[in-house]
Structures are given as C-alpha cells and as structure tokens.
Symmetry: C2
Subunit: 235 residues, 2 copies
Amino acid sequence: MQLFIGHILSETEAALSEDESWHCIKVLRHKAGDPITMMDGKGSYYSCTLLDPNPKKCILAINTVDFRENTILYDLHIAIAPTKNIDRIEWFVEKAVEIGIREISFINCKNSERKIIKLDRIQKIVESACKQSLQRYIPQLNELADYTPFIKNIPVGTHAYIAHCQTKDLPHYTTLVKPAGKLLFLIGPEGDFTMNEVTLAMEHGCKELSLGANRLRTETAALFVCNAMSVLASL
Amino acid sequence: MQLFIGHILSETEAALSEDESWHCIKVLRHKAGDPITMMDGKGSYYSCTLLDPNPKKCILAINTVDFRENTILYDLHIAIAPTKNIDRIEWFVEKAVEIGIREISFINCKNSERKIIKLDRIQKIVESACKQSLQRYIPQLNELADYTPFIKNIPVGTHAYIAHCQTKDLPHYTTLVKPAGKLLFLIGPEGDFTMNEVTLAMEHGCKELSLGANRLRTETAALFVCNAMSVLASL
C-alpha cells in the first residue's frame, strides 16, 4: 500500500504536505481522480480521491476514514547522544520507528562528539519509516537539548533509566524494567556518560541499569532497548 | 582495550594476520617490545610482546593466555537474503555481532535483488565488530548459497524457522522459539519468500512464524531476531 502523509482541512477535505505533494505529482505522476491513501500520523488512514494535483499542496476529497487506537502497552521515549557519524543515528531512527517508539530526544552530553543535528532530515527518515512499516502513529522528535535541563525536566510519572558502563554489576534491565507506562531510556555518547551525569540522573529519579555483558555501540544499545521492550511486551 | 586478531604459531609465539599487522605497525606505529593483546576468535585473549614488527606478519611472544568458554545458551544462525543496498546487510552484520550470533549465511531467493556478495568485506566488518564489542568468538560467515540446496542441507537437530508475511495469523515467535540449542532463522528478501520457498522450508522441518504485527525490512527483521533471542535467553 502506498501511503502519503497529510492533514485534514475539514470533514471532507485533506491536503498533503509540500514534500508529499511533490512526490505524488512529480514523481508518481498522479492525476486528478486518482485514489490516494493519506495518513495523519495520529492513527487514521483516509481513503481519498485526488481533487487538485497541485505539486506544492495536493488537495484530496476524503471518502472513508479508518482509525485505530495505539495498542502498544508502553510509551517508549529514548534520549540519545548523537554519534560522531550521523549515519549511525539515522539508521537507529529508521529501525526504532519500524520496531516501535513514541518519542526520540537528542541530548548533548559532556563526551558528545556531535553538537548539532539536522532535525529536518531525521524527520524525513521518521516519516519514510512510518510509511514503509505501516505505522499509524508518527513518533515525536525533539531538538537537541543540553543534558542538565533535559534531566531536570523529566516528566513526573516517567520510569526513567540510564544505561551506562561506568560501574560494574549494575542491575540487568530485565530485573528492573516492565514494558508498561511511560518509559524513558538515556543512552550515552561514544565516550559514555560521565559519573557526574549518572549522578545527576539518579538524583532526578533515574535508575541505572546494564543492557548485558556486551560492549554495545551507542546506536546498537538504543535499538536494543526498542527491540527488548517489544519482546518483553509480547510475552 | 585494543585487540588484534591473529593465530598461534606455537606455545610461545603468535602471528597477526596481514591486515592486522599493517594496522599495528603502519597505522598505530607499534615497535618491538610493545605489549599487544591478540585474540584468536575462539575464546582466547593472549597477552603478548611484539617481537618482530613486520608490517606483513607481526610476530608476537605469548606471555599469558585467558580463555573463556562461550556461555551463550543458544547457537544462533541467521540465513538472510542480501538486500539490494549492501549497506543494509553490512549494518545488520555489525549489529548482529555486537548483540551475539554464531553463524551468518546468505541465501539466493526467487525475489532476491542482489545475487552476489563480497565476503571479504563482510568478514572485515565481522572482525571489527568483534573487537569493538569485546566478543571472544568470531562468528562464521558462509558464501551466498542457492535457496533449495541450502534448505536441503539444514543440519539434523536444528530448530529452524522461516519468518514471512505470505500468510496471516502465523504463530508469534514467542510461542514457538526457545532460546536454546541450535537455532536457524530464514529471513527473506525485500519481496519476501515465495509460497514455494515457504513450502519447501516446511517440508524440510522449518516452522513458519511471525515476528509481530509491524512490516519490517529484511535487515530489521534479522536484527530483531538476534535481539529477541538475547532478551529471551536473559529471562
């Protein structure tokens, strides 16, 4: 199924985003009258007919709506320090969306090797992965935030965890984490979190944990968390 | 810890491979007398001293050996159809090694978009990921094999599974798979396995299964299996 991302204008009309309009008209050469399936990223697929094939803003007539509640048992938020090589973050994002995630934040840590991130590009990867894997809910992406304010603003009611290798014999994630409710995992940069960062997180309610014996790269650890929550939730 | 891959020559001497010798001498500029940690990929780390800094074949004096048994409860073999974009296979291999895998095969399926694969390059990724993640056992890589002979040669005693999307309501992997013994998972190409391929696999003892509701890319599905076995084995 070919999906396009858009938003509704009224009960009967919808519009595609600028990128999607271009792709729909200039690349896929859709014409007025063609059937188009539009997703709003909030659980609904709309069966539509292309009314106005404007390559900057396609207008669609909505025929039927198919809404589904998000049935994932947990609300997974991963905060990750961007890697030096941005490809590694990009594939993490693509795979995390395929497996299932609600929110991705980027955090600027003491040992971060990358201090800027282009959210536009990451947003496109998110949308493309949603369409590819038929996800109905588009995850939220947040701008790069400094570590300290990020930690101080963890919402009340979040089960927050910090995965690091600074201390031996940390509790294994399977003994601490239940795949339910609001979950936040902090994943550090290539040089790991500093002990000061770990301490700050714990002062703000985060629990430290181990993801197992293997030394994982930043992006491997982050994706492992997505996979592990999916597995634990399906038991 | 900086690791080099090599092999033992006698009880007291070892040699690095050609690539590793070049890296050790020409890139890292090690000199005779320097301490070197060598791994054989079969469970042992050797504390050595560099005897002959030959950039084509470094010779090391072995001081001590530290051997550890492979404690993973399962012996995971993934047979995957190479993706059109080889980067996707390369990152699967890197991540699978980090998380833990024993053997990787490449299979040539009806819908495969790639019919050749350069094993040398993949072997380097395997070795690099082993060193990075401190894995002591180097997984085995097999040459691209045609689907039918591969299926006909699945070793007796293997718990073999085929993940596909050709049939709805397949049993969920968590109901079928125990993370123990010899496990083989078949992961199909971008266009999925054909029903003939699924039937052949089942005639040869494979069980069909679903990896969940999401439509996963080839490489995402393969890595999901590695992650899932790791999670299930740690419960």
